[in-house]
Amino acid sequence: MSKPFFTVYCLIIYAFLLAPIAVVVIASFNAGAFLTFPPQGLSFRWYVVFFNNEVFMRAIRTSLWIAALTMVISGIIGTMAAMFYVTHAGKLKETVRVAMLAPLLLPEVLTAISLLFFVYSVGLGTQNLVGMIVGHVLITLPFVFINVSASMESYDPAWSLAAQSLGAGRFTRFRRIMLPLIKPGVIGGCLFAFIISFDVFTISFMLKGVGMSTLPIQLFDYLRTNFTPEAAAVSTCSIMLTMAVVIVSEKVLGLRIHRF
C-alpha cells in the first residue's frame, strides 16, 4: 500500500469512528428546541438546562459512585485473579482463563437476567446498589484480568524470591516489588473498569431499584419522551468525563507508570 493512500485510508477510518461523536458534540450547542443537525445557531442553553436538571445530576452522581466502587473492587479481585493465574494455577491455567473471560463471551443481556434471578434468590434484591455493583464488577473483571495478567507475564518470579531472601515478608514483596512492576496493567485495567461501568446499560437496567438510575438509563428514559439538545449536552459531558479520566491518568500517572 502506497504511503499517501495509507494516510487517506487511516483518515477515513478515524472519520468513521469519530464522526458520530462530533455530531453529538456539535448538536449539543444547538440553540433550537429540537435535536437537529446541523444546529440552528450556537448556544450553551442546553448545558444550563442540563446542569439545573436535578434528575440528571443525581444520575451522574450515582454513575460516578458505582463506577468508582466497581473500579476498586474489580481492580482488587482482578489483580488477585491474575496473580493466581500466572503464578499458581498450574494445570488449571486454561480453565481459570476461560472462566475469567466468560463474562465477555456471554451476551450481556443473559448475564443481566441471570444476575437478576440471582440477587433475588439470595435475598439481596434490587433495593440497594449492591446487586448492581456485583453486576458491574462481574462484567468489568475480565478487563482488569487481561491487563494485569499481560503485565504479569513479563514479571520475573525471581524478583519476589530475591526480595524474600533479603527479608521481605509476603505483603512487603507485593507492595514494594510486584505492584510497582505490574502497575501499568493494574492502572490500565482499573481505567477500563471505570469507563465500562460508567457506560454500561443492560446490566444497570436489569438490576436497578425503583427510582434509581444511572446516567445511561436516565438518558435512555429521557430520549423516549423528549427530543431536545439536552440529550446531546448530557452525552457530551459524559464523553468529556470519560476522556478526562483517560487523559488525566495518562498525564499524571502515565509518565511514572512507564519509568523504571
Binding site: 530475591a162 533479603l166 527479608g167 521481605a168 514494594r176 510497582p180 523504571f260
Partner: protein, 347 residues
C-alpha cells in the same frame, strides 16, 4: 561466620527422591561448590538451604540451630540468582538498601554500608543507575553486593556466571573468590561447570542422581576420583583396564602397583589424566610404550593427541607444544605408575 551442617537431607516431589539423604558439613568461611549435571539435585539442595523448597526429611543447621522450619525471609541468607533478579524499578542504591530497610537499619548506616559494599565490588559512582543501564558483569556485581550488604549468615550462589561470556566469566571467578575470602563468609556455590567449581572452591561436592558421589578438595576430586562417573565428569580421562595380580595390575602400560584390596584375576579400571602422560620420540630410546599418532589438535597452550597403542587401545594425551608430532608418527608413551588411579572393578 556460620558453620552449616546438612544432615540426611531429602527432597521427594513424589516421583522418587530428587535429593537423596545427603549430608555435608560446611566449615565457617568455607567455599563449597555443588557440582553435577542438570537434574542431579544441586539446585534443589541450594533451594532447601535457602528455604525456597521444604525438605522432605533431614536437617539443615546454621551453627547448630535447625532452620528447616524457618521461612526464607527470616533465615538471614544472601542469595545471588542466575539472572541476577535485580529489581528493575529501583536504582542500584535502592536495590542495595532494600535488604537493610527490611532489617530496619538506620538511614545513615544504610548509606555508609552501601558506600562500602559498592567500593568492594568496584562500582562506586554507579548508585544512581538503573539495572538496565548496566552491563551483565556490572549487574552481576550489584547482585553480589545486594546479597553481601545485609551481612548474611551464609552466601548462596545459583550458577551466577552462566549468563556471562567466557572472558568475563573467568574474571568473575577470581573476583568472587577474592571477595569471598576477604569477607570470610560461608558460601555455597551451585554450578555444572567443573572448571568453575575447581578454581573457586575449598571443597567440591560432586552430585549425581540426587546423591553425593564425592566430597573433597579440587585436587582430590580431579586426581583421586571416587568412581568412573566422577572421573569422567571432572575433565578428560583415559580409562585403562587391566588384570589384577599380586598387588599389581597388568595393563597396556605395563604392571602398575596398586594398593587396597582387589581380588586377583578380576579386571580393574584405572584413571589416567591426559596431561599425566609424556610423549617421547622413538629415537630417544626411553622407557615407554610404542604408539602411533592418530590425530592432533593444537590449541595454543596445549596439544591434544589421539594415540593408538601397540595393543590397539586408544589414549588421549595433552602435552605442551614444544615438540610436535605429526599424524602417523611413531612415538613412545610414558605414563608414570603413580599417575594411575584405581576406579573399581570393570563391569
Amino acid at each position: 561466620m556460620t558453620e552449616v551442617s546438612i544432615e540426611k537431607l531429602t527432597k521427594d516431589y513424589g516421583q522418587g527422591p530428587a535429593v537423596n539423604s545427603i549430608s555435608i558439613r560446611i566449615a565457617e568461611g568455607e567455599f563449597i561448590s555443588l557440582l553435577g549435571p542438570s537434574g542431579c539435585g544441586k539446585t534443589t539442595t541450594l533451594k532447601m538451604i535457602a528455604g525456597f523448597e521444604d525438605a522432605t526429611e533431614g536437617a539443615i543447621r546454621f551453627d547448630g540451630r535447625d532452620v528447616v522450619h524457618v521461612p526464607v525471609e527470616k533465615r538471614d541468607i544472601g542469595m545471588v540468582f542466575q539472572n541476577y533478579a535485580l529489581f528493575p524499578h529501583m536504582t542500584v542504591e535502592k536495590n542495595l538498601a532494600f535488604g537493610l530497610e527490611m532489617r530496619k537499619t538506620p538511614k545513615d548506616e544504610i548509606r555508609t554500608r552501601i558506600a562500602r559494599v559498592l567500593d568492594m565490588v568496584q562500582l562506586t559512582g554507579y548508585s544512581e543507575r538503573y539495572p538496565r543501564q548496566l552491563s551483565g558483569g556490572q549487574q552481576q556485581r550489584v547482585a553480589l553486593a545486594r546479597a553481601l550488604v545485609i551481612e548474611p549468615k551464609i552466601l548462596l550462589l545459583d550458577e551466577p556466571l552462566a549468563n556471562l561470556d567466557a572472558k568475563l566469566r573467568e574474571e568473575m571467578r577470581v573476583f568472587i573468590r577474592d571477595l569471598q575470602r576477604r569477607v570470610g563468609i560461608t558460601t555455597v556455590y551451585v554450578t555444572h561447570d567443573q572448571a568453575e567449581a575447581m578454581t573457586m572452591s575449598d571443597r567440591v561436592v560432586v552430585m549425581f542422581g540426587g546423591r553425593i558421589a564425592q566430597i573433597g578438595t579440587p585436587s582430590d576430586i580431579y586426581e583421586r576420583p571416587a568412581n568412573l562417573e566422577v572421573a569422567e565428569f571432572v575433565g578428560q580421562v583415559n580409562i585403562v583396564r587391566g588384570k589384577v595380580g599380586n598387588r599389581i595390575v597388568s595393563t597396556a602400560f605395563g604392571d602398575i602397583p596398586v594398593s587396597g584390596d582387589h581380588a586377583a584375576g578380576t579386571e580393574l579400571m584405572l584413571a589416567l589424566r591426559p596431561e599425566a602422560v609424556e610423549l617421547l620420540p622413538v629415537s630417544s630410546g626411553a622407557d615407554g610404550v610404542p604408539a602411533k599418532v592418530l590425530s592432533s589438535y593444537y590449541s595454543g597452550s596445549l596439544v591434544d593427541y589421539r594415540l593408538e597403542l601397540a595393543g590397539g587401545a586408544t589414549v588421549s594425551v595433552q602435552t605442551f607444544p614444544r615438540t610436535r608430532f605429526a599424524d602417523g608418527d611413531q612415538v613412545l608413551v610414558h605414563a608414570p605408575a603413580d599417575r594411575f588411579w584405581p576406579l573399581g572393578s570393570a563391569a
